[in-house]
Symmetry: C2
Subunit: 387 residues, 2 copies
Amino acid sequence: MRSVSIIGIGQTPVGELWDLSARQLAYQAVAGAMADAGIDRADALFVGNMLSGRLLDQEHLATLVADFCGLRGIEAAKVEAACASGGAAVRVGTMAVASGFHDIVIVAGVEKMTDTVGKDTTAGLATAADAEYEALHGVSFVSLNALIMQRYMHEYAVPLDAFAGFSINAHRNGANNPNAMFQDAITREDYMRAPLIATPINMMDSSPVCDGAAALVLVPTEWTREFTTGHHRGAVRILASASANDTLAVHDRKDPLFLEAAYVSSQKALRQAGLTQADLDLFELHDAFTIMSALGLEANGFARRGEGWRMATEGEIGINGRIPISTMGGLKSRGHPVGATGVYQIVELIQQLTGAAGANQVKDARLGMAQNIGGSGATIVTHILGG
Amino acid sequence: MRSVSIIGIGQTPVGELWDLSARQLAYQAVAGAMADAGIDRADALFVGNMLSGRLLDQEHLATLVADFCGLRGIEAAKVEAACASGGAAVRVGTMAVASGFHDIVIVAGVEKMTDTVGKDTTAGLATAADAEYEALHGVSFVSLNALIMQRYMHEYAVPLDAFAGFSINAHRNGANNPNAMFQDAITREDYMRAPLIATPINMMDSSPVCDGAAALVLVPTEWTREFTTGHHRGAVRILASASANDTLAVHDRKDPLFLEAAYVSSQKALRQAGLTQADLDLFELHDAFTIMSALGLEANGFARRGEGWRMATEGEIGINGRIPISTMGGLKSRGHPVGATGVYQIVELIQQLTGAAGANQVKDARLGMAQNIGGSGATIVTHILGG
């Protein structure tokens, strides 16, 4: 298997970008990544996206983006795994280079969720759940996570404000990220008075509906020297790339409070990289809801079961903490354009690993993990990157 | 790069299968392929599908199928490239094994297009076109192909009945395929009196809306000996796997009558396999409309430009013809469950290459090509298989 490295990154700001269509967002990210890498061609483009068919009446999105970016004649395909679509597209791009089928592969994630006239974004997001056994009965994605959070609070006797620190940390970091949707720090009081969306999830527990695109350029590691001369940020190697699934429906799981697929996925990845989680300098986790931050820290071995919420302090998850998370704002503050999120996570990991994270730089960051979750823990993609 | 072979195939009959949901269809195909291969586990499942999000309110389909098939903990992702989704999923599965990331990979294609209460299948299919510059203006997929066919007839002074032979051939072959949607041979008179759908396309030029699923089991070629003992049909090697794109919108093309991406895609594939098209014993092309058969034969070098329609005779494209096409009925007669079609093509190629094509067996078939088209020629995936 050929070793794969990333030599270019691109991203748009995240937000309600009503003046930019999906193809324009994707173009900005792809053109940015190609300029960053110093390349003017590619062999393939894989696009992570979840909702273009429903919200934009546009399937066949990868070929559209390739066309709009002037990349004719290359391979193009969209990869979908709900909110893990971005991570799944990175997986496919990695396999394309690792196999030797392609040398220069662009992976983009794009999602346009606002300004979709006449479409129901909440119903769209619910298609990540089991249509026949969950969504049909009226469950939305927020309410599924609310059930899990409710159970967690009951099972472990955790108070409502136990999750505040995850949101405070995300916003503190997002405040320094010019691409974040929310660039305002919040206080515990802001969290406590946030309106409830689905009890016990409040507005500050939940990531926003938004638009955005991010992109990466992948090449064989042995090629990186020729690309990364001069002022280039330097290549970052993909040390591991893995994915695992669980039951789609939450009620089918042995234990809805344990992200089995996160455990399996990161175990596969750590084995590939020959590392343990104690070796990691930061962890870009999937904080779509604060409960997912707690469960993610637990399933990946950073906290005991039922104690992930205790890590929601600056000393544990802050930039200078034991294991920094959501270092550029995470899904909560940077934003969660669903199919793009997995690619944003890798872009931000690379900013950290190349010393380009500005005020949020994790000191001496050498090894980082990103974990992208589809559905309520049903598809979990893990990447480990290193300098 | 590891060589990849297929050791198992599965398929459901194609038709209006109102009593089977998408997950049940996929299960039948996957379980069939696993039984055929004699395996009870897999490392990954890639699913080709185009319309589940719109028509079934179900994204996250690959993980759902993996779950329903009892394949927990493995990698799962959906691959989408409009009607080329099946072929694109085979590409990803091939890269997964070739790279060494996985050893046993299942590729399934599934589409459920009928019995979708309250959904508009025609509008769904139009999402393969450019939403902003084609579909928004009222173009459906049939009408786009009708414009191309109209232009072809004008440009090359071809009469309306020039395409009849493609439909007659497809139905002749479909009549012997127990999995085909239409198992009735048709006559030239049947073709001539078929009602028009979008002038000049009539009902017999056009593939049907239907349901179906097909699946493959891929392993490294070096592993095949241990699987293919006893009564096993024998493994078939993937000699080439390639994809190319063109502009999404037909009006952006230099020449709408030349499938540039088919040419690029098959040239890539023939180069990989070290073959020329003259070496091929059969060609499963993408006859969604009869005009696409003509254009496919031309772009792939089997006919001169403007003369593909002349091949619509038994002597040229029949089972005993120069280059047999649609040997199990093609999209026209077997049916075209869009995201599954690319996988059906490979399943049928394997039936031919292992001598299991029954009454439609192409004598001494050793090398075959399958070509799966997304949109009106915008994404074209080509596979070459050999014994």
